[in-house]
């Protein structure tokens, strides 16, 4: 198992109820798998999760990026800046 943390922003933070979540995951969990885990744990996150981007340690990540011990994942719902 690995320990990671997940950061939530904007509407996702409101749904999750906190801006940072510590999680234990099986080693070699991918971003796509993490997305599935989060959608099960927070059903209201589903509509945001389907269009969310992810970053790992402040770098944009792909769905098949594998997570490692102490990674900091950012869950980035569709952006509306500008």
């Amino acid at each position: 198992m690995i320990k990671i943390s997940v950061l939530f922003f904007a509407g996702a933070r409101e749904i999750v109820g906190q801006n940072r979540l510590e999680m234990e995951l099986p080693a070699l969990t991918s971003i796509a798998e993490l997305r599935g885990i989060l959608m099960v744990r927070f059903p209201r996150l589903e509509s945001l999760a389907s269009r969310a981007a992810f970053a790992v340690n402040e770098i944009f990540a792909l769905p098949d990026t594998l997570l490692a011990q102490n990674d900091e994942v950012a869950f980035l719902p569709a952006v509306s800046g500008g």
Partner: protein, 140 residues
């Protein structure tokens, strides 16, 4: 480098951005301001709140700027995005570009804005006069 990227909680001093971008080797300066509208569609806005994942937002803005510099002949470039609570009429983003020729300056400034709207991790929450707040997450 001649480039400035900034997130700020203060009002954006766009006048300074224009002065910084002017140059004797540039024939064209284009400034874009994104400002808070009082009415969007049928909805009234009391105020907006902008939030960023700041470290990644700054990196993403810098990358957009570098891509623009590799595509167009840019002399100087400044991008400032404001965060926090903004009233109608205030400026949420300012992009200023100077180029030798005007077609480049228009194209660069416009494409930078399009990219910012697409990928930079910044979000806004609208609050109506009735006190209803909603984070905006475009469904494409």
């Amino acid at each position: 480098m001649n480039m400035r990227i900034q997130l700020t909680n203060e009002p954006i001093a766009h006048q300074d951005m224009v002065e910084n971008c002017r140059s004797k080797s540039a024939g064209a300066v284009v400034l874009f301001l994104g400002t808070v509208r009082e009415i969007t569609g049928n909805e009234q806005t009391l105020f907006l709140e902008y939030e960023a994942f700041a470290p990644l937002a700054e990196k993403a803005l810098a990358e957009i700027a570098e891509q623009a510099k590799s595509k167009w002949a840019i002399e100087k470039l400044e991008i400032i995005h404001r965060l926090g609570i903004l009233q109608p009429g205030e400026t949420s983003i300012a992009v200023c570009v100077s180029c030798p020729h005007r077609a480049d300056a228009f194209a660069a400034c416009q494409q930078i804005m399009n990219k910012i709207k697409e990928v930079v991790p910044i979000w806004k929450k609208e609050t109506s006069p009735k006190g209803v707040s909603n984070w905006i997450h475009p469904a494409n």
